[in-house]
Amino acid sequence: MDGLHDQVQDVFRRVFGDDALVIQEATTADDVPGWDSLMHINLIIAMEKRFGVKFATAEIARLKEEGQNVGILLTVLGSKLSRLKT
């Protein structure tokens, strides 16, 4: 998961244009300046390109809802990647 965390952090840094950005599992959209609905979709598109996965429309919306955080994003992404391997 650490490797995945670092890769996801790298995607965050590129999307938000902030090389010093540090994300943790508890990080939410409120903690990252500029993480609005539009940037959220940009983030998802960047994840899809980087990891070769596809997020469903409902998942994209769900990941931006209140109570969601980077930890949940990592879990969803992790399960997609493991499905990709099998």
Binding site: P33, G34, S37, L38, I41, N42, I44, I45, A56, T57, A58, E59, I60, A61
Partner: protein
């Protein structure tokens, strides 16, 4: 009978007492399904309309299951075009008069609630294709589409959310305090619809009637009176819409809850929104979220994936297109197109403005900008005024709107002349 009418409330009161006594989830589901069917039968006028409804809904289920088994973008696109085409034809959109021979538009089909069914159906098909809905049964799907509490005007519930309460169907609440709270909500909803709403509609209609008669040259009024009439009309209609629609939702959500069905909230103090994008997360929220998920996200995803270098600029266009389409969905005549156009302009302008402020002040400066109370006050007032402008075109035909604007323009010119 409609949601919120006297007959409806009496029926809900009587049935909500009997309903919890029905033993077993399946029996309660059958009872509720019978209620939905009876309610629907009040609005379906002929056998052909029943058939059209069956084809409309049935096709959605079959295509969703086919796409779930094997996702095919070609089939999805073809079905989407056919579905929207059927919707436009069934609703007899004005622009069809110039495209189709009159005989094709003279059909006797009236499918009530079809606008909301369309949204639910698109959601169901997309989410099934993307494996977000599992094991949907025709029985649950049918009840999801025909649920009497959401049939006429929403809220636009998502399938999984509906299934969660449908599968349990425990009449809520169990404590008398919860029951009392629900009934207070229902009765407050009735008061909003038939008390405040009716009074505001009366004001709107009186102002409208007088302005239209002035436009037709009947009598004359001073410029001040004309402007007061216009202000009355301009303010009363959006307030009426809020009272009527949020009241309707109070009745629908409260009543559904008495029968064990949880419906999503549809309003969250919309007139406190600081721009039109926020407005759509507070007003008719389930529609706003639907537009975001099934129009804006796919559109933006497509353009940002295809032309990543232009994504930021194209985002404004996506807001515009999504909200114009949403506006047109509201009704069949050209004034709804103008309504949608204004919302498209308003939402994309809100995003442009935000981008400009961030560019000029940086993220930290933008945070300070958002925290400023005077700016917030101006933004809320501006959003309310702009929304009222869009509702001006929602409420009347374009001919009526322009006639009124002509009278008001004349009055304003009159104020300036000696």
């Amino acid at each position: 009978m409609t949601v919120g009418s006297q007959g409806f409330i009496v029926l809900v009161a009587a049935l909500s007492v009997v309903f919890p006594l029905i033993p077993g989830v399946r029996a309660r589901q059958i009872a509720l399904a019978a209620g939905s069917l009876s309610f629907l039968s009040l609005f379906v006028g002929n056998a052909a309309s029943w058939l059209a409804l069956a084809v409309f809904i049935g096709s959605g289920y079959l295509v969703a299951r086919a796409l779930q088994a094997r996702p095919r973008s070609g089939l999805f696109a073809a079905y989407l075009v056919a579905l929207v085409g059927a919707f436009v034809w069934l609703k007899k959109y004005d622009f069809l008069a110039g495209l189709l021979p009159p005989v094709l538009l003279a059909h006797p089909l009236t499918v009530v609630g079809i606008s909301y069914m369309l949204f639910r159906q698109i959601h169901f098909v997309v989410d099934s294709m993307e494996q977000q809905i599992e094991g949907a049964s025709p029985w649950t799907y049918l009840n999801y589409q025909l649920n009497l509490f959401a049939l006429l005007a929403g809220p636009i519930q998502r399938y999984n959310e509906f299934r969660e309460s449908w599968d349990r169907l425990e009449p809520l609440p169990r404590h008398w305090r919860e029951t009392a709270a629900l009934w207070i909500r229902i009765l407050f909803g009735v008061m909003k619809m038939w008390g405040f709403g009716a009074a505001l509609l009366f004001v709107y209609e009186k102002c409208h009637e007088r302005l239209i008669s002035l436009a037709r040259g009947s009598g004359g009024e001073g410029a001040g009176i004309v402007l007061i009439l216009f202000a009355g009309l301009f303010v009363a209609y959006p307030l009426y819409m809020y009272a009527n629609f949020s009241g309707y939702c109070d009745v629908a959500i409260g009543s559904a809850c008495l029968f064990g069905l949880a419906l999503p909230e549809n309003f969250d103090r919309p007139y406190l929104s600081r721009n039109l994008i926020e407005f759509w997360t507070r007003w008719h929220r389930t529609l706003g979220f639907w537009i975001r998920d099934y129009l804006f996200i796919p559109l933006y995803r497509f353009v940002a994936g295809t032309w990543p270098g232009y994504a930021a600029g194209l985002a404004f266009l996506c807001y515009f297109v999504a909200f114009v389409i949403a506006g047109v969905w509201h009704g069949t005549s050209s004034n709804y197109f103008v309504f949608g156009l204004l919302h498209g302009v308003g939402t994309s302008a809100a995003k442009v403005w935000e981008t400009l402020v961030i560019r000029r002040r940086g993220r930290a400066g933008f945070k300070t900008y958002l925290a400023s109370r005077p700016i917030r006050g101006i933004a809320i007032a501006g959003t309310m005024a702009y929304f009222a402008l869009t509702m001006f075109f929602f409420a009347d035909s374009l001919d009526g709107c322009f006639s009124i604007l002509h009278v008001v323009g004349g009055a304003i010119n009159g104020l300036g002349s000696p």
